[in-house]
Symmetry: C2
Subunit: 332 residues, 2 copies
Amino acid sequence: MKVSDLGEFGLIRLLADIVNEDKEGKDVPIDKLLIGIGDDTAAWKGDNDIQLATTDSLIQGVHFNLDTIGWEEIGYKAIAVNLSDIAAMGGIPQYCLVSLALPGATDVDNVVKLYHGMSSLAYQYGVIIAGGNVSSANELVISITVFGTLKGSVALTRSAAREGEKVAITGYTGLSAAGMRMLKEDLHFDEETTNLLRQAHCKPVPRIQEGQGLLHYGVKTAIDISDGLIADLAHICEASKVSALINENSVPVHPVLEKYFAESCYRLALTGGEDYELLFTASDDVMKRLVNKMSCPIYIIGEITGEIAGQVDVIDEEGKKLSFEQSGWKHF
Amino acid sequence: MKVSDLGEFGLIRLLADIVNEDKEGKDVPIDKLLIGIGDDTAAWKGDNDIQLATTDSLIQGVHFNLDTIGWEEIGYKAIAVNLSDIAAMGGIPQYCLVSLALPGATDVDNVVKLYHGMSSLAYQYGVIIAGGNVSSANELVISITVFGTLKGSVALTRSAAREGEKVAITGYTGLSAAGMRMLKEDLHFDEETTNLLRQAHCKPVPRIQEGQGLLHYGVKTAIDISDGLIADLAHICEASKVSALINENSVPVHPVLEKYFAESCYRLALTGGEDYELLFTASDDVMKRLVNKMSCPIYIIGEITGEIAGQVDVIDEEGKKLSFEQSGWKHF
């Protein structure tokens, strides 16, 4: 069987099984591991706080194309997607390692831009670039690992959603996917729209403070939206063994999407991906508290139901189920 | 200027400069960072112990070729080279993240072998594979990050070598490079030799306990030999602003190299690379103590001198300087 037959998430489950099986009978301090393979970050017990660690690679030709994204932007984005994973746990990012592989013919000025992009975002959140390694490769590969900590005894996870909870997001989705379309298809808009869409796709803002806020005000379940709203909600539903119902008309659609992408605006918002907003679930009481306390918008878009584990349905105003062809980024 | 003009180590210096410059005026807890860019691992102050983190990528076509190394072996090796970096600091490896990029057409059975190779070595040293990510790519890229800890207040570093100290290694070098030649050039030897050379190249043993032993018995300076004995001693000399003299006839040469690679056996031992033995410096007193206490061999091969920072000379029995064409693995 090929990896493409198994799919990304089938592969992850298989790898988790191997790692668990091989552990049997070995002298490994597994009791300190709080969260292993399958969430946004790994987590283990430190001396005082919980320690978090996450890694993500950006690969030229797969995750980005240097025709449409600049070197400074790709450096920024490589850090952002990892910080976003720490945000999804409610953590505080602290240190970062960069493993960089690139062709020898790469212009040094471009590598300088790449690193300025990385360090500008890292330092904005108090994160230290502490090391890494460089090697040659045919295509640019940027692998980032971010190490963080978490106050308290429990992290936000994918697996704590319960029937009856509301589902919410911290901001608009779909702008990044619209930005990618603009760049790939060379679409032209006014300057403000162009900047907004480019920023959304190339320089997404990791919701660090917001993640910590969610944890502080009693949220237990969160994920960052990288694969797409429906796909990431399905990850929560699978991990929590619940299902979810999204009300399409509760999903916020940015005016720019309504104006310039009218036909596909809901598809973009629901399946676009790379938004790096936080998607979370919580009781009505917690949601009410959040709406008054958080500095970011909180849009309640649906609820957790108890039917089929892993299933996410989207309904229109009349309660009719809608179907979306592509429910998120597929790696294989 | 191209990256290949600047070279791997010129590039690392440049990146370290950018990271340091961009930090100016930012609110970053830099006082907690003990070792940043430029050593085998990064190190920072934890609540109780020192925390270590290292990352290294193995890229198909650059670091390995699937015609000559098996999937299980490449998994093992990807973990081994990272554990070796922790060993070079005297640390205890604890957790590991795997960032895996591979073509969708990859046979799932091969990925299973890869992971068994990783987990078998990780668990042997009590290291937990705690997470990671998978994505598609044209070629196999395995990026590993290992987190560890260190008892005591100071790690083994590259920068503590002092004039008058002796230079030593924990075992034979050159076997891995000979193994690579055997595999690439399809050389044939008896079964025992073939296994020895294949093992040295494909499944190097990280010197974890030995690194901790060196630290325990008072060694301050060490590096693991990945680039080659001379090249890695030059890294110590650059970081410590000293020079070094190697006595060629003190360098141990394995009988297999003497027998089958007679003409190039010293070149292999001095410049081969990927040995993952520890190279270290210490005073006579510390060396004497080590020879009696350590379970691995300790070969004293030269001494630290005070002439030109970063320079390493090799002399023969008569004190004549020898020159070696290739002084280690070059990435660009």
